[in-house]
C-alpha cells in the first residue's frame, strides 16, 4: 500500500479536557433551570397561566430549550462515536459476510457509520461491487436513515428512554429482517445492468491518525451541522405540538389515532411513505398527539415510514435499482413498520 505517513503532532489535551468540563457544567446548569425559565417567561406575558394560550406558551418555552439541550448532547456523543467509523471500514467488515450475521452487523453499523443521504448511491455501488451481499447492503441502507441520532435524541428528550430504546430495537429488527428477506429473494438481477458490470473492489486508503482533540472536533462539527440544520424544524414542530397540546380535543384524536382503531396503523404507514420530513419536525408533533390519546404504535409507525421511506430517496435509488426492486424494498420495509406499529400498540397499551 502506498500510504502517506501522517505528520506527528502532539497537541496538549489539557485545554480540551478543561473546555469539556466547563461545557458540561454549563449544560447541567442550563438544564436544571428549564422549568423556572419557562414559568418566568410566561409570567412576563399578559396571559392567564392556566388558559389554553398560557398552557401552549409554557409548553413551548419549556420544550424548545430542553429538546435543543438534549439533542446537542446526543448529537455530540454520536459525532465522537462516528469518528471511529467510516463507510470504507464498515464495508471491509461486511464484505463476504453470510446472510444473517451480516444483516445484524450491517444494521448495527448503519447507526454508527457516518453517512450522508447524498452519498447513498456511491455507497450502494461501493458495497455491492466490493462483495457485500445485496441483502446485507439493504440492512445497512434501511438502518442508517431510520435509527439516527436526531430521532433517538428527540425520542429520549420528549418521550423518555424506554420509548427511545424500544424504537432503537424495533428499528434494528426491521432493518435486519427486511435485509434478510431481500437477500433470500435473490434479486441481484433486478439491479440496473451497469451496476453489475462494475467490479471495482475496494480502494486502498492511506492511514490517517485521529487524535482525541480531532474526535471532540468531530463531535462539535456534528452539532454545528446537524443542530444547525434541524433547529428550526424543531421549533416549528414544537409550535405545532404546543397548539395541539393547548387546543386539540382529546376525544377526536383518540377516536382517529387511538389503539382501538386498528385501521389507523396501516393508514399511518400508507400516508407516511411518500412524505418526506426529518425526525426533527415530526417527533414534537408525535409527542403532542400522544398526549391527546393517540396510540404510540400508530404514531411511531407514521414516523418510521416518514423517515425510512421517502419519494426523494426512491428517486435517487432508481439510478441503481429497477422499479421492481424498489417496489419490493418498499413493500418489505412497509410491512415491517406495520408489524412494529401493531406490536407497539400491544406492548404500550
Amino acid at each position: 500500500m502506498k500510504g502517506v505517513v501522517a505528520v506527528q503532532r502532539e497537541p496538549s489535551a489539557l485545554p480540551w479536557i478543561g473546555g469539556m468540563a466547563a461545557a458540561v457544567v454549563v449544560w447541567v446548569l442550563l438544564y436544571s433551570q428549564l422549568i423556572p425559565f419557562s414559568e418566568w417567561l410566561v409570567s412576563l406575558l399578559p396571559v392567564e397561566r392556566h388558559s389554553h394560550l398560557g398552557e401552549s406558551i409554557a409548553f413551548f418555552f419549556y420544550d424548545v430549550p430542553k429538546v435543543l439541550l438534549l439533542l446537542t448532547l446526543v448529537v455530540f456523543a454520536m459525532g465522537v462515536v462516528r469518528s471511529y467509523f467510516s463507510p470504507e471500514r464498515t464495508r471491509a467488515l461486511l464484505a463476504g459476510r453470510r446472510v444473517g450475521v451480516g444483516n445484524a452487523m450491517a444494521a448495527s453499523l448503519g447507526i454508527v457509520t457516518p453517512f450522508c443521504s447524498c452519498s447513498a448511491v456511491p455507497l450502494f455501488i461501493g458495497f455491492v461491487s466490493a462483495g457485500v451481499p445485496l441483502g446485507v447492503t439493504f440492512s445497512f441502507l434501511i438502518a442508517a436513515p431510520m435509527v439516527n441520532e436526531v430521532a433517538l435524541g428527540l425520542l429520549f428528550a420528549l418521550l423518555g428512554w424506554k420509548v427511545a430504546l424500544t424504537y432503537l430495537g424495533f428499528g434494528l429488527a426491521i432493518a435486519i429482517v427486511a435485509g434478510w428477506v431481500i437477500g433470500r429473494l435473490k434479486l441481484e438481477g433486478w439491479l440496473e445492468p451497469w451496476v453489475l458490470k462494475i467490479h471495482a473492489g475496494a480502494a486502498d486508503l492511506p492511514d490517517t491518525t485521529t487524535s482525541w482533540p480531532d474526535r471532540v472536533r468531530a463531535g462539535l462539527e456534528a452539532v454545528r451541522e446537524i443542530v444547525g440544520r434541524v433547529w428550526y424544524w424543531i421549533i416549528a414542530g414544537i409550535a405545532a405540538g404546543a397548539l395541539i397540546h393547548g387546543y386539540a380535543p382529546e376525544e377526536l384524536l383518540a377516536s382517529i389515532m387511538g389503539k382501538d382503531a386498528w385501521w389507523s396503523v396501516p393508514a399511518a404507514v400508507v400516508i407516511g411513505i411518500p412524505m418526506y420530513s426529518n425526525a426533527a419536525g415530526i417527533i414534537p408533533v408525535v409527542e403532542a398527539l400522544l398526549g391527546k390519546g393517540a396510540a404510540l404504535g400508530t404514531v411511531l409507525a407514521f414516523m418510521m415510514s416518514v423517515i425510512a421511506l421517502s419519494l426523494p430517496e426512491m428517486i435517487i435509488l432508481r439510478k441503481v435499482l429497477s422499479v421492481k426492486l424498489i417496489a419490493v424494498f418498499v413493500a418489505v420495509v412497509g410491512s415491517g413498520i406495520l408489524a412494529v406499529g401493531f406490536l407497539f400498540n400491544l406492548l404500550f397499551a
Partner: protein
C-alpha cells in the same frame, strides 16, 4: 502538474471540497488541475463507498466528508 479529482454527485460538500483543494494548492504554490467527477459509474470505478472523495494523480487519498486542511496540504505537496 498534479491531477486532482474530486468525486461526488454534486452536493454542497463536494463543491466545498473542490474549493478546499484549490485553496490548499494556492497556499502551497503547487500547480494542479482540478476536475469534478459526478457520474456515478465513473465514481464507482475508484472503489470508494462515500463521497466527497479525493484522488491525487490516480491515487485515492480521501473518502467521505471534508478532508482536514493539514492532510490536504500534505497530499498536494507530496
Amino acid at each position: 502538474m498534479k491531477d486532482v479529482k474530486v468525486l461526488g454527485p454534486g452536493c454542497k460538500r463536494c463543491d466545498t471540497a473542490v474549493q478546499m483543494v484549490k485553496d490548499a494548492a494556492a497556499a502551497a504554490g503547487v500547480e494542479i488541475s482540478v476536475s469534478k467527477v459526478t457520474d456515478y459509474a465513473e465514481i464507482a470505478r475508484f472503489g470508494i463507498a462515500s463521497t466527497p472523495a479525493i484522488v491525487v494523480d490516480g491515487q485515492v487519498v480521501h473518502a467521505g466528508g471534508l478532508p482536514k486542511a493539514e492532510d490536504l496540504a500534505r497530499w498536494i505537496a507530496a
